[in-house]
Amino acid sequence: MAVIGTLALGAPLVAPHSPTAIDAVAFQAAPSRTHPLGSDSVGRDVLSRLIYAARVSLTVGLLAVAMYVVIGTAIGAAAAYYGGGIDLVLSRIMDVMLSFPPLIIILFAVTVFGRPSIWNVIIVLGLLGWPSLARLVRGQFLALRDLEFVLAARATGASDARVVIRHMLPNALAPVLVAATFGMANAILVEAALSFLGMGVQPPTPSWGNMLTDAQSLTVLERMPWLWVPPGFMILISVLSINFVGDGLRDALDPSLKL
């Protein structure tokens, strides 16, 4: 994970070529000294594109998740804290949103938003990803709401916002953090899928997903593995390592796992 992050940040320094520069003599060329991972269908260096694509994936992962963590926490907290009618309405909205097939609704939203771009993917993922997180926060807050320290805070006349933010949130943060980590892995996968379908990051900006679109041809699949193995591997590795981070966080933060 750290390696991918460093590569993404230092892309201009690490990458051997510009990710959009075209090599006029090497289209779909096998790996060589000038192109360690070969070149793609318009003669661009696969390695450089791979490195730059890490930026896209991490940006999408971080920003989309940040967005929906804020929305999800706010809504989940409001539902649990106020309870009653507000809880009922907010919970049903979550149920409805969770019952849509996610990829289809994201595809639809990206199209409606106008032209596809990385920012649209982030916004759509951010706006649609919150219900499951809100549910988690709501559960946490329901448990916290009636604990003594919260009641004490309310008894001293603290405002709702203060009670929620200062007293309750810090105690509900651990599972949110874990969920956010897993959410980031998921966001990277969704971005890859969207870009593969042509609805995500637009060319010539490289993304692991749109690099994979070349792999639709049988000849490429069978005889030009350098076009699709590296981006596929990067998606696998990044999602796997983020999930490991999530697992680690959960082990460290979840008191029920401690003996």
Partner: protein
């Protein structure tokens, strides 16, 4: 007794297995079955209104016009279809056709001059939805769009049950007339459709299952998005077809290779609707049971400029962009040499091609100089719109953008599906746009380059170009027309309403067991399908 019944049942099943054609699902194991493959499904089978080459590829097995036109050795040649004789009058204004005495509909009724009249009346009715209007543009009594003018008599006269005469508004080049009216107007059955109001014709069920045609093959069935099945018309007047059954399968381009390898496909449907992907080309060439056929394509890809943007109206900017784009790279690398750099809308294989037009060289320094001269704003970002679907075209956009950036033009690619793309071009919501054009044999390109033409996507107005195009349509003298279109091509290269990018070769796979298949510049393989012969593999 029970045992016997069981045996009889088994025997029946075995017999049925023997009788069922092996190719019913599509394997080309029989000499009598041929399987063709194309990328997308037809939207309907209307001989006057199917909206794509996919549809017309299917239509032409079942319906014919008077003639078949074919470009061979730079010469337009005509072959009999429904007509057995055709002649142009000395005035180049009257054209006579005689329908083959045995030409008949699939239900046995003869094809008559009344069917022809009905077809012309239907197409020219303003209420009919059709894309065949342009084929009738020269006929007397009709507009340039092929629609009837109130009060003017139609230039078609029935001479007998099987013969008729067409009059044109003015003298025209007979080649143009025979290509448009002779080969481009497929005849409709009057006894089936005669009572349908023209405005309801487009939705008539007949066009989903046209069981009564006049061509060498009869419609059997269309399994939506899977295949179209045809069976030979034994009563076909030019001789019954050799191949009994033709299946046209709908196969996405990326899976075509696997089907060719498994010998499940005999023919790919040809230019633009079944072209073999460039990645797969070498492998098709290496297949022992297939012939890989490559031929110069009639269609070209181009980049259109939005003339409503003041900064693209400057000729110097358009020239700079033409110099900036590395077209040699597209042909040599993107198509591995299977293509030709294009300079104008009339292809080098066309008899009217002007070979004296100087090409726009790839010259980045010149491009930069021209941009400076025109005072190009380096901070301006322009939008290059690209439709998805044609993979090579999508890749060419990446090259174009890189080339533009290199000379100091900030460009952004915007990819959308084809209908959205077309809407953006028509709505002038773009700076540069990629699109392709099929290209007919006749050099008249008014619909694209005349002021207000239906396909004038850039919205340009060039009065002298309009004049040349009008003269070209009106002139009946081939030598004079050549002169006019030479001038048009020179003017095109000077004004650059488009940058024409390349003519991609048609790359088609054809089973070695097949013979009698005509292919060439039109590349659709649907000429004289009754001559197709399929041997054993």
């Amino acid at each position: 007794m029970i045992k016997h019944r069981w045996l009889a049942g088994l025997a029946a099943i075995l017999a049925a297995a023997l009788v069922l054609p092996v190719g019913a699902v599509g394997g080309p194991r029989s000499q009598l079955v041929v399987v063709s493959g194309m990328w997308s499904p037809p939207n309907n089978f209307s001989p006057i209104n199917t909206d794509s080459s996919y549809g017309y590829y299917c239509v032409r097995f079942m319906f014919q016009g008077m003639l078949e036109a074919r470009l061979a050795d730079n010469q337009l040649r005509f072959f009999p279809a429904l007509a057995s004789r055709w002649e142009a009058g000395a005035d180049r204004q009257t054209y006579r056709f005689t329908i083959h005495p045995r030409a008949a509909w699939h239900d046995g009724r003869p094809v008559t001059a009344e069917d022809v009249e009905f077809t012309v009346l239907t197409i020219s009715d303003p209420k009919t939805e059709t894309n065949r209007g342009a084929e009738l543009a020269t006929v007397a009594g009709l507009t340039v769009g092929g629609k009837r003018v109130a009060g003017e008599p139609l230039g078609l006269r029935i001479l007998g049950p099987k013969s008729f005469e067409v009059r044109t508004k003015a003298p025209v080049d007979p080649l143009v007339f025979f290509e448009r009216f002779g080969a481009g107007v497929y005849i409709l059955p009057k006894h089936i459709l005669g009572s349908v109001p023209p405005d309801q014709l487009a939705r008539h069920p007949f066009f989903q299952a046209p069981t009564v045609g006049n061509g060498p093959y009869k419609f059997v069935q269309y399994r939506t998005d899977q295949y179209v099945e045809f069976v030979a018309n034994d009563n076909y007047h030019n001789g019954p077809p050799n191949v009994r059954r033709v299946f046209v399968r709908i196969i996405p381009p990326t899976t075509m290779l696997a089907q060719l390898e498994r010998q499940e496909l005999d023919i790919t449907a040809g230019f633009g609707i079944g072209t073999v992907l460039i990645e797969d080309w070498e492998r098709v060439k290496a297949m022992p049971h297939m012939r890989a056929v490559s031929f110069p394509g009639p269609g070209y890809q181009f980049m259109v400029f939005n003339f409503t943007r003041p900064y693209l109206e400057d000729k110097r900017v358009r020239r700079a962009i033409a110099h900036a784009i590395n077209r040699p790279l597209m042909v040599s690398q993107l198509f591995r040499g299977e293509g030709v750099i294009a300079e104008g809308p009339i292809p080098p294989t066309n008899p009217y091609f002007n070979k004296n037009v100087k090409p726009w060289a790839y010259d980045q320094a010149r491009a930069r100089a021209l941009l400076q001269e025109a005072g190009w704003d380096a901070n301006r970002t322009i939008v290059l719109r690209v439709p998805t679907g044609n993979i090579a075209r999508e890749r060419s956009a990446d090259i174009i953008r890189e080339n533009l950036v290199a000379v100091g033009i900030k460009a952004e690619i915007q990819k959308t599906d084809f209908p959205t793309h077309l809407a953006a071009l028509t709505g002038k919501n773009y700076d540069l746009g990629l699109i392709g054009w099929g290209g007919a044999t006749d050099p008249d390109v008014s619909s694209q380059f005349r002021t207000g033409g239906q396909y004038n996507f850039g919205g340009h107005t060039l009065p002298r170009m309009d004049q040349l195009l009008d003269d070209g349509v009106k002139s009946a003298d081939p030598a004079r027309r050549r002169q006019i279109y030479n001038q048009f091509q020179e003017m095109f290269a000077d004004e650059l309403p488009y940058v024409v990018l390349y003519y991609e070769n048609g790359r088609t796979a054809l089973a070695r067991r097949m013979s009698g298949v005509l292919y060439g510049v039109s590349g659709l393989y649907d000429f004289q399908t009754y001559d197709w012969v399929a041997g054993t593999q």
